[in-house]
């Protein structure tokens, strides 16, 4: 049985349904899978999470979590899932320990009963267990929220942008924690606007403006990138980009870290681009083949 099934879900907002957040999207996630929803703000990630956690009704379409239907079986789903919303959603005036106890009690369990599941995460904040949740730093709030979402040992965990606004080091740590949870058999649906985090998921759906651009493994998405890709660098990067845009053999060019990435038409070669740019007088020119990443693929989907 799949962990999550989303079948042609449509969600609109507004009196006249003038804003469409989800345009009939469909996908399935497997049990124990770490599945990523990758997309910028406004892609529809939070609407989808709220529908799957039975907090919001879709206009049409069906969805289920562990075989339970989101409308009919909403009470059963609520007992079986953990949900960490994008905004810090704990009680700021309760201490770390009180928050955790509260959520355990609500689900008729205790911290002791499921401590093994949260141990690796909770030990990092345990020294501060008497501190009010509202006084915690961002990274610590995130760890507490994750502990609270796990304390009833859910079958499926929903994490809405857990790493947004979090620095690169804490983000890496967070993904390590997710790997640990996956190893314990929990199915995870996680959303992120950071394209580089897609590589850490088993499979991902790329989402933009309420539509799915692609569902695949990270490697599969990259393999689907159909064009030759070059990385180009020179002393003056901005004029370089303007010149590349004038090169007829290029489909698209954009800054990518210390290089510009150039998507080439089939048949156009690096040598042709090199000669074109040398002719424009660029110093320190480097033109080399590049491997596309998820972000290159996302940009390509957006341009088509």
């Amino acid at each position: 049985m799949p962990a999550v099934v989303v079948n042609n879900i449509v969600k609109t907002y507004g009196k006249k349904k003038e804003t469409t957040a989800l345009h009939g999207i469909s996908f399935e996630t497997a049990p124990g899978e770490l599945f990523g929803l990758i997309g910028p703000d406004g892609a529809g990630k939070t609407s989808l999470f709220r529908i799957l956690t039975t907090l919001l009704l879709a206009d049409s379409g069906t969805a289920s979590v562990n075989g339970l239907e989101v409308v009919k079986d909403y009470k059963a789903i609520r007992r079986k899932v953990g949900y960490m919303p994008g905004r810090f959603s704990l009680y700021p005036d309760l201490s770390v320990e009180e928050n955790l106890n509260f959520f355990a009690t609500i689900f008729n369990t205790s911290i002791e009963e499921n401590y093994d599941l949260i141990r690796d995460i909770y030990v990092q904040i345990e020294p501060f267990k008497k501190r009010r949740a509202g006084k915690l730093s961002g990274g610590m709030k995130q760890k507490l929220a994750l502990s609270c979402a796990l304390i009833h040992r859910p079958d499926v965990l929903f994490l809405d942008e857990p790493t947004t606004g979090v620095d690169a080091v804490s983000r890496k740590e967070f993904w390590e924690m997710l790997k640990g949870l996956k190893a314990q058999g929990i199915s995870i649906l996680v959303s992120t606007p950071y394209m580089d985090e897609a590589a850490l998921c088993d499979r991902v759906a790329l989402l933009q403006n309420g539509k799915i651009l692609s569902v695949n493994t990270p490697a599969g998405i990259v393999d689907d990138f159909a064009w030759p890709l070059l990385a180009v660098k020179a002393t003056s990067m901005l004029p370089l980009l303007h010149h590349i845009e004038k090169f007829e053999g290029a489909v698209n060019a954009y800054p990518f870290g210390e290089f510009h990435h150039v998507v080439m038409k089939p048949g156009s070669t690096a040598v042709q681009l090199q000669q074109f740019l040398e002719h424009k007088g660029h110093a320190g020119l480097i033109v080399k083949e590049a491997k596309p990443g998820i972000e290159d693929c996302f940009i390509a989907y957006m341009k088509n």
Partner: protein
């Protein structure tokens, strides 16, 4: 102060009780430079930025921003800088033009200036047709680009950008950086924080804060060379992992 240095910081320190949030930081930023201000959560970036914007008094140290002393002339600093963050930017329930009139008015600009500048910006962003639309109705990507243009509406010496591209799609993120390049070329100094390490590459120089101190400050190319790293991501991880301060 040398005319081309628009930010001069020497031994700047901020203590909260017995906690030193910013610990004797020193650096200079040149006119028109794009300066990346990086650090892990809790490293002291926001506290440092608040002092430079004249919003928080230092415990010790010296700093001049846009030619003004941060102790005695912080009101003058506020008039000569722009600020934008992902969280706070424009008023959703005002139109595009109303937002510009509001910000122009706050900074004491004349009606003629506001009118001309509004026209220029709308043309530059290809938003002329949307001038009378509520900002709340615009797509997020447009809003962020508009927010940046409004932050430099009054032609400040320096613009402070606090994670301006968080959550923005990869195409818009790059368009946003084009606006930053244009502002820099027109002489506006850009002081920017980001969690996207590829964006650190777009800065002329980058500083990395660890535990309240500036641990490294150089061009991205030199930082990679010094630390033997392939990418800025690796540079950041190597430095930030040294942090011993417990997040509090």
């Amino acid at each position: 102060m040398p005319a081309d240095k628009v930010i001069l910081v020497e031994g700047l320190t901020k203590r909260f009780g017995d906690f030193t949030a910013v610990d004797h930081i020193s650096f200079e930023v040149s006119r028109g430079e794009i300066f990346g201000f990086l650090g892990a959560n809790g490293a002291g970036k926001t506290t440092a930025m608040r002092m430079l914007c004249g919003l928080s008094m230092p415990s010790s140290g010296k700093a001049r921003v846009a030619g003004f002393d941060i102790y005695k002339e912080n009101e003058k600093i506020k008039k000569n800088i722009g600020y934008m963050s992902q969280k706070f930017s424009l008023y959703d329930d005002l139109t595009v033009k109303e937002n510009m009139r509001f910000y122009g008015g706050i900074y004491g600009k004349s009606d003629v200036f506001i009118k001309d500048k509004t026209k220029t910006i709308l043309e530059q962003l290809h938003l002329t047709a949307e001038g009378d639309k509520l900002v709340g109705s615009l797509p997020l990507g447009w809003k962020q680009k508009l927010a940046f243009s409004v932050a430099i509406f009054h032609e400040p010496e320096i613009v402070f950008l606090d994670e301006p591209t968080g959550g923005v799609d990869p195409v818009t993120r790059r368009e946003f950086w084009n606006l930053i390049y244009e502002a820099s070329a027109s002489g506006i100094t850009v002081f920017v924080t980001t969690h996207y390490m590829d964006e650190a590459e777009y800065c002329k120089r980058v500083s990395i804060m660890v535990d309240g101190r500036i641990d490294a400050l150089d061009t991205p190319a030199n930082l990679k060379l010094i630390l033997g790293a392939e990418s800025m991501d690796e540079v950041f991880l190597k430095l930030a992992r040294k942090a011993t301060r417990v997040e509090s």
